[in-house]
Symmetry: C2
Subunit: 335 residues, 2 copies
């Protein structure tokens, strides 16, 4: 049935030990043996069994990645960045979607541990104590991607969300806006919610602009629908508002769609600034000026960090990647 190292050894008239040696380039065999073994491998079409190997070497060359229910685009970009470097390092990646449900997360984590993945990338979700305790228990390298926890020394890679939101807001101010609304995500979200909200407020304060609660609306999922609804609310109650900063491109594009429906011209009447710089920003009309996160790079850096950890090398306990402002057409410069 399945061709094993034994079949190869037999065909090459040698022992399984020698076959293993040549297959793993360990040396300690004659050139002659090597040729015979390789020939047998080729003729039999033998391919080694990583499961059996894993048992011995205690390494599966597989990592797990858990995603909550975040934007499809974010997921895609992260995953691509991740897969790019795992591929180069001969690792595979198991993905799980958890929809931010703790039971689902725990089951996913347990399955990953059962399969003895060498490491885990935990993405964009809030980190609770149950997860941390489990990470501690299973003692597998973990890195947080676009999230972090103050109760843990697990390394993370992200942008500085506070600074990013500050810069985005400051960009609007610099371009002549002084009544700026915000479509925030869930303010309880310790990454994409609270810090971005605070960054917005901080930029306002720095410019001596008042912080009005009425100019702030809270979505809960950073999604298109939220953006649409919150835009309407914002416009209905803030006639003087000239710009809106949305905490995600999806929300920003929802806002733009709502604007079209309300016959409000973007950016002439109201400017909109997004966050993320996913493909959505380009597709929206007008195309979104947005705060760009290096999403793919965040993914690949997370894996690099994880692999260092797995290999027992020294690794950073935080990597903050630079953000930038991508100018397109959704913000009017009114200087």
């Amino acid at each position: 049935m399945m061709i094993t190292i034994r079949d190869v050894a037999e065909k090459a008239q040698t022992s399984i030990a020698t076959v293993s040696r040549v297959l793993n380039n360990l040396g300690g065999y004659s050139e002659q043996k090597k040729i015979e073994v390789l020939k047998a491998v080729d003729e039999l079409g033998y391919e080694s069994n990583a499961i059996a190997r894993s048992m011995i070497v205690k390494k599966t060359n597989t990592i797990g990645v858990v995603f909550p229910n975040i934007s499809s685009m974010l997921t895609y970009e992260f995953l691509n960045g991740i897969e790019d470097v795992t591929y180069k390092n001969n690792f595979n990646v198991i993905v799980s979607y958890t929809y931010s449900q703790p039971e689902r997360m725990m089951k996913a984590l347990r399955m990953l541990y059962e399969k003895r993945v060498d490491g885990i990338i935990f993405t964009s979700d809030v980190v609770n104590d149950e997860y941390l305790k489990y990470f501690e228990k299973i003692d597998i390298p973990v890195v947080f991607l676009s999230t972090k926890s103050d109760n843990s020394s697990i390394p993370y890679v992200k942008v500085n969300d506070f600074n990013a939101a500050y810069d985005a807001t400051e960009y609007l101010i610099r371009n002549g806006h002084n009544t700026i609304g915000m479509i925030s995500g869930n303010p309880e979200d310790p990454i994409a919610g609270f810090p971005r909200l605070e960054g917005y407020k901080s930029a306002l304060k720095k410019a001596n602009l008042p912080i009005e609660e009425n100019l702030i609306r809270y979505g809960y999922d950073f999604n298109f629908e939220d953006g649409k609804n919150k835009f309407r609310e914002l416009v209905d109650t803030n006639p003087d508002m000239t710009a809106i900063f949305a905490a995600s491109d999806e929300m920003a594009s929802g806002a733009i769609t709502a604007a079209h429906q309300m016959d409000i011209e973007i950016p002439n009447q109201i400017s909109i600034m997004g966050f993320d710089n996913t493909m959505i920003a380009e597709i929206a009309y007008p195309a979104l000026t947005t705060l760009a996160q290096p999403l793919r790079k965040m993914g690949s850096e997370a894996v690099k960090l994880l692999l260092k950890n797995i290999d027992g090398e020294k690794f950073e306990n935080e990597v903050i990647l630079p953000h930038s402002i991508k100018e397109r057409q959704s913000v009017k410069k009114i200087n």
Copy 2:
């Protein structure tokens, strides 16, 4: 270090066989023993090692999914549909992106085989003989998702792309358009290219409309940029054209963006019809009327088919899912 079934047996004062039995609910032990074992498991925090189990039972409860470089949105929807049912069935999924490069595909396939996945979902890519030969060799259940091969009896799940494109074009005709351009993908693509093109032509023919090569443009990646460029070409050389059918939402949204730049009103001057019904269709402005594929469902059906195959149950060798037309605002009815 690692807690094994041995530790549990020792602590529970019994044999590893009995521990295994209660862990797997095999019966053949006293209630008393069961309690003791479970207690030991709990106290030690034992979690079984799927790798070791896989060696014996020759099943990893893992499937592999290979994606080419198709649209991020398609990938996301497929993967979600897939993961939904694997999760329910206690399977994990390993994803690989191949960028449609045969060497990369072969490496990915080999890695999946090395890890002894129980099945493979092969998505949206053209199937060459090398792949087919490898599938035959490794003798692992495979299902094609949104692709197929005439040289193979490997089962597939997809929509009927010819009919779908026919219906999309017929919809435009029915709504009063008679000079209809097409932004096709690569016509060599046996799934999203050729059949959709033929469906378009067939609908034209059926309505006694001429098929003009000048009304057809070929992108190569079904992407946004292609859509932009091909729209311009089409408009520049076809003053009478009132509608365009694009073979993907991404191309359609590219067309819309180009239209905005050229000050062409959609749908008043030109109607645009997309294909896929991804989130992009909703974000575009005007929102895309498009031919909807049940993407998530396609993913989940593919897994169901695969799992049946893995479990040795009877399975269909093709499942064609129904498509539909999702009306939004990008097509004008000029009756």
